[in-house]
Subunit: 335 residues, 2 copies
Amino acid sequence: MEKVHSLTVLGTIGERKAIELIIKQLDKMRQMPVPFGDDVSAWDIGNGNLAVLKTDMLVDKTDVPPDMDLWQAARKAVVMNISDFAAKGVKPNAILVSLGLPRKLVEKDIEQIGKGLNAGAREYDAYVIGGDTGEASDLVISISLFGMAKKDELMLRSGAKPGDLVAVTGFFGKTSAGLRILVNNLKVPKEIQRILVESVLMPYARLKQGLALSQTRAVTASIDSSDGLAWSLHEIAKASNVGFIIERLPISNEAKTFAEIANLDPVELTLYGGEEYELVLAVEPSLWSKAERAVEKTGGNLLRMGRVTAEKTLLLEMNGKKRTIEPKGYEHFKT
Amino acid sequence: MEKVHSLTVLGTIGERKAIELIIKQLDKMRQMPVPFGDDVSAWDIGNGNLAVLKTDMLVDKTDVPPDMDLWQAARKAVVMNISDFAAKGVKPNAILVSLGLPRKLVEKDIEQIGKGLNAGAREYDAYVIGGDTGEASDLVISISLFGMAKKDELMLRSGAKPGDLVAVTGFFGKTSAGLRILVNNLKVPKEIQRILVESVLMPYARLKQGLALSQTRAVTASIDSSDGLAWSLHEIAKASNVGFIIERLPISNEAKTFAEIANLDPVELTLYGGEEYELVLAVEPSLWSKAERAVEKTGGNLLRMGRVTAEKTLLLEMNGKKRTIEPKGYEHFKT
């Protein structure tokens, strides 16, 4: 049971509580290679090798924003799962798909779903090798991933140490802005609008970066930012029993412009977004250059934003001002 | 894309057609160890070993009959997936669960689901090691299984040869009768009613039998009977390019009694049921005794019912009468 959407409520219980309740009922396997609460699960197949597994479900009514078509939704279902593999440094090999299909769908819809699934898989060099379908009220696309990893190369949430550097693989705030445009039907200059909306409709997983980073052994903790930057930081803090001081926020230029136009706080847009698939990392300082070079070789960037602290608080210190980073994030599109 | 429920229609398309449409859009991996259309998927991990994967989704509105509680539904979601591993002769190790939860659920409901998932897993010596939750209109329990197998021990649908013996691991018709009792609220003598209803609410996967059989190398084709006996025979026939003559039908005594009371044809109940998790097998004749002993050692029975033919017809020959076995099966509970 891994991801938690902070602000979604499931009736009166909440998703987080629901996951806790389920885990409580389970007999625990001894010596789990990856604990409950991390982004993937694993099975020890011997000789230091793990079979790595992941499942997550896209449900149209909560995970598909306005204007996202079926091809994009199916592709996104794959990408959001692969992003978790990316964060752990694991290459996805095989994908299985369990589909819940509403009766209203027609042949062309099913074709679009098939094409989107395939596109998401092939982008990351994986294959859809099986699955099943059934009828459901919502469109439900449940993805299962399988891959292999060396036990000691897996990047968990739990290894960040005081003094480690905090970094991300890209700039934030675009999806947060893009979602506001889609949901509230806002108008901003055409070219910026295109970039912001595109960031929502066509997310990319940082798989190359994650795989390269896991080879460097420089990363002490890792997570993706699908529930927002602030949420991801809190998850690492909790799993690693540390805190953070963030000195530089990776705000994207388009998000900055959007914040001005829409009269919003760009810091809020950056911290409390979601559906963003950058990696959020703690890096061993002596190996920083190695990690940076590895990411740059993939065509990406490693952006340093702060450091890990022994004190278990999450602080943003910018321009001489301090503010607390709250444990909140991504909201679903429709509630 | 594996299982097909013959009679469920997905709007105008049909589940079978939907699966075909999806598969058509996929780039095919070269040298798939298990082809599309069989009950599990696999990834070659070298040295003759396979990682075996399976996913299938239980949706309450189509897969949960009246009177089945949440604990039973969650357990069933696990058991129906394990049954496919049983049919292939693969031990399930790890289970991941992706849950779509309706808002109306309360804490106690979630606990029952957790307990049911755990019960299903532990019955077969597997563990739930991860998963995720989200909100959905229906209760959706999507299960992913992982296990390991020797490539040459996997029992596929496709190896039946003319002259092979056809066998099953148990008697049929109970679930078919039980469902009729539950859906139509029929009354039959108490003790029989209990057995018939129980067969629906508490299905068991023939895992021990499947694992024992795969060791004998006696089985040339195998499938479970979750979509009904007739449907399973047709699937083996199609995959193996053969036909069958069935001389003895494994009708359970309770189903026989129920058929008399309800004025139904016991042959229909036996052939065209579903939600039954026996194994349907083709067995190499020279290894029959070996297979039989292996199953008996597990406490089960191997019931011979006919033979494989080169002619691609499915015939029932009993008491000097011939009738055709139709490719039809299991109907969902609510449509």
